[in-house]
């Protein structure tokens, strides 16, 4: 099924002072898909999201929301956006109902439809039973759900979530991720994070930003391929000769970490571990431990950031 394009950024560039915060960012978000905006802290994720939500105005480039240029018609464009910033924009003194009613009014929901919109949003976010509780009396996870509820209350075509699981406990993280997937069932979602597993758990598409530039932009599966492991660590009682290991099928390189540990590089991971175990048993290298080196986000960033020019 072909998904409809909901938002698009073209050559988006922005600078706060002299230096560019982001430069030439391009991506497109589709209906019913979750786009993960991945990047380390200070990479330009929040700037991109703030531009997309009309909080700041970009220096160059265009951001379209549902075909509307947000810089030129911000009020119309914002009707199609639900935004949950890093820190949920809540009024702690209000009850959930009061807060969501206010949000509904701000988002131009007709008066007659407000009650229904509230009910739907609360049900979706699982906070219907807290309707009359003061927000400050809710736990962090539920506060985050209220934040999500305000982002979807007006049924926007695009929901933008800035690190939505930040500060939540593992259970809450799982619940919120589930919620995000539900939210994406009938709209487009952009989600920013610096946690790789979050992207892998929730996103369909990934845009990775580093030093203000796009270093990766494709689907999750393409990304997974991209960050496939290509090394493993072996701990041995006695280390054999390098050439012996290199001679094993598929091994491209070897480096010695210390007197018991070596790192083995390869191209294809299929059957590699089995081949190495078999070889060590055969040759009596006394293998104590062997494991695949999983790509950490740092590693990925290090790997990908090599593609990003350092001097913007």
């Amino acid at each position: 099924m072909k998904h409809l394009s909901v938002a698009k950024v073209e050559s988006l560039s922005h600078r706060y002072s002299k230096d560019w915060a982001i430069k030439n960012i391009n991506f497109e978000v589709f209906n019913q898909r979750i786009l993960g905006l991945l990047g380390s802290n200070g990479a330009g994720k929040s700037t991109t999201m703030n531009i997309l939500c009309g909080v700041i105005s970009q220096t160059e480039g265009i951001a379209w929301i549902d075909g509307i240029n947000i810089r030129e018609q911000p009020v119309i464009a914002k009707k199609q956006i639900g935004f949950l910033p890093q820190k949920a924009p809540l009024y702690m003194e209000l009850t959930v109902n009061e807060y969501l009613t206010y949000c509904a009014h701000l988002r131009s929901i007709p008066k007659a439809e407000i009650k229904n919109a509230l009910d739907v949003a609360k049900r979706k976010c699982g906070i219907a039973h807290f309707s009359n509780r003061l927000i400050k009396n809710l736990s962090g996870g539920y506060q985050q759900r209220v934040g999500l509820a305000q982002a979807i209350i007006h049924n926007p075509k695009l929901v933008v979530l800035d690190e939505p699981t930040n500060g939540l406990d593992p259970n809450q993280i799982l619940e919120v991720r589930k919620l995000i997937k539900e939210i994406a069932e009938d709209r487009a979602v952009i989600l920013s994070t610096h946690i790789l597993s979050e992207v892998q758990a929730t996103c369909d598409d990934i845009v990775m930003i580093e030093n203000g530039q796009t270093v990766f932009s494709d689907t999750l599966s393409a990304f997974n391929n991209y960050i496939k492991p290509n090394s493993l660590i072996m701990e041995l009682t006695t280390i054999p000769d390098e050439s012996e290991i290199k001679s094993i099928e598929g091994v491209t390189d070897v480096s010695i970490i210390n007197k018991n540990t070596i790192r083995v590089f390869f191209k294809e991971s299929d059957g590699m571990t089995q081949r190495l175990i078999r070889e060590s048993v055969t040759k009596g290298w006394s293998l104590n431990e062997i494991f695949l080196e999983k790509a950490s986000l740092d590693g990925v960033f290090a790997q990908l950031s090599g593609k990003a020019p350092q001097n913007l």
Partner: protein
Amino acid sequence: MRKIFRIAKLELNLMFYSPIAWLVLVLFTIQTGITFFDLLYTQETSQQLGRPLSVLTKVLFAGDKGILATVQRNLYLYVPLLTMGLFSREFSSGSIKLLVSSPVTNVQIVLGKYFALLIYGLLLMGILSLFIIPAEIGIKDADLPFVIGGILGNYLLLCVYAAIGLFMSSLTSYQIVAAISTLAVLAFLNFIGTIGQQYDLVREITYWFSLNGRTNNFVNGLISTKDLVYFFVIMLMFLAFTYMRLEFSRLILSRSRKIMNYLGVVLVCVGIGYVSSMPVCNYYYDSTRFKDRTLTDTSQNILDLMDSKQDVEITSYVNILHYSAQYGTPLNRIDDQNHFEKYRRFIPEMKMNYIAYYDTVPYNRDTVLTLSEKAKNAASAYKFDFEKVLNPNQIRSEINLLPEHNRLVRFLSYNGKTTPLRMFDDILAYPGEREITAAFKRLLDDPVKIGILSGHGERNIQILDNSGFKVFMNGTNVRSSLINQGFDVFEVTGSAGHKLIDSIDVLVVSDPVEKIDSTVVNSISDYLLAGGDAIFTADPGNENLNHFFDLLGIEKLEGTLLEESEDFEMDLIQGKIPPVAEKLNIKFYDDAIVTLNKAMGLNLEKVQNTYEVTPLVITNIETVWSKIGPFDLGLERVKFDPSAEQKKAVPVIVALEKQFENNRQRIIVSGDSDFLSNSEMTRNNLRNVNASFATKVFSWLVDDKFPIKTSRPKALDTEITINRNQILVWKYVFVILLPILIAITGIYLLMRRKRF
């Protein structure tokens, strides 16, 4: 609009979901309640003690201590408490992102938050309006429009403060910083009016920005477009700043562009303010019952007679060496001009020029420095530009100010005519409506000419001896002096050559010690026979006026009047004004006295045949008798001798009147000259009314042409109709019951919400 309303509603809710809004309401109610009822209680005490009360509505609501004045002074303390959180709270909690990512414009955000404050402000003004109830019940004929004008003024001030607070709150994410910087800006706006006052252009601008005293006008009953425009412009300026602040956080602009934008707004506001403060663009509404803040109809009618108002000019000559220079300093310029504000309202085109000079002054303690050195010091002290200060030669070639003793004097000119407008040696210093209007009238009309006969040892008008008439007639810096009330006073000799009747309006002949020669006698007789108005005063034993007394039919009673007194010389007579004098508009309170010195009684039997006679001052029947024969109070002890002498009420000063062709001839005859003397005019050991009595006498003589009557109707609201117990009950309602009700409502609401 719906969104503005929603944002405002949320802000109001947030205010009332925290204790601060309730606390402010409670404190405000208590403070205003105590102020109002304490004042009312004090006034009630005065009423019980039988003291006359001043205009109660003004005392209780305006003035220095009234509640509207108190609120005006304290408002700056309340407002930052309410405004500090408006934006800074949203910045620090991050909730601002809800607003900026929602389909609302920055204008809607700013207005929404501002309207919340305006609505809260209405609550405060509602509390103030509640005081109308006890005022209406407790004061007879309270002046309500005046109170409402004052409340409006306070509300506008609150609107301005709120706009400033809103902007300051948008600059920081710390509420306390917002509150303190709001206080700082308010203090600055109060202080800015004193900056650069010595420079002509800067003065107008900085003064215009000044908040100081703006609300005073509203509270005290004068609503003007100038002040209204000020409030709206400052309010809009800060709202615009707030809007720009929000816009600039979205758009990334260079600092210089931002500053340019802010400056642009300031310039537009200054422009509007400058235009609006020009007298030509100004409109007024006087909210007092009897239009106290406006010129009287008398003055207005006189000003209406001017057909080319653009020619009106007031030129002030400021001798920087005289102490009066302080009124004419550049620093005091706006204040100085404000003393003529009532006139500028009706003659907006009036020009006011200032010429600074230096010249000798009568007293001179410093004998070391030269005049020009002293002038340099004075110029530097008063911040005059010494280059522009005229030296003695320059000023003398332009105008002779010696008759004005080289002190600050103004000249009012119109259509080629000029008349002086002086400063006075009394507590007010500035000329009031009576003096200024008299000056205007002199320019439109001929002044009344008072001829003082001289040359025969008469009382003179040039020096300040005890017996002379200078203080009352010719005292340049005495407010009540005839020359400052519209009269021209000059000496005449009465010698042949010109007819007195053509050159003067009133002739004054006072106690000539030398015999008057026959040509002068004839000249005066002709004057009287031609219907001229005159005053004749003679002390006991003076025979030099006998001719005129005979002519008029007045007989002098024998002897010198003496009055029994423990405190004063016996020849000091405390004369009474009989009720019949009211016919001539000469009326005082019951025991008012006119002091006479060495007086004699008058016999009116004969004069009644030719003139309508009204006694103006008579002696006290219980204490005054006529001592016949020579005596010397300094050497002997004189006592009333009941066997030979008789106490009686005799007339000493009388008014004669008769129809003469188309005119009424009016003559005053007095058996005492001292009632007009310098010593009686300045007497301070007895509460005499000589000055106002003499003024009224002259007013009658000239058919009320001068002095100008600027009296207004008597205030109605001078009576408290509830007793002190009722006042206390009202006080408890406002100071205890009402705050408790507000507090209970607040606590109930807050507690109920806490449970959610």
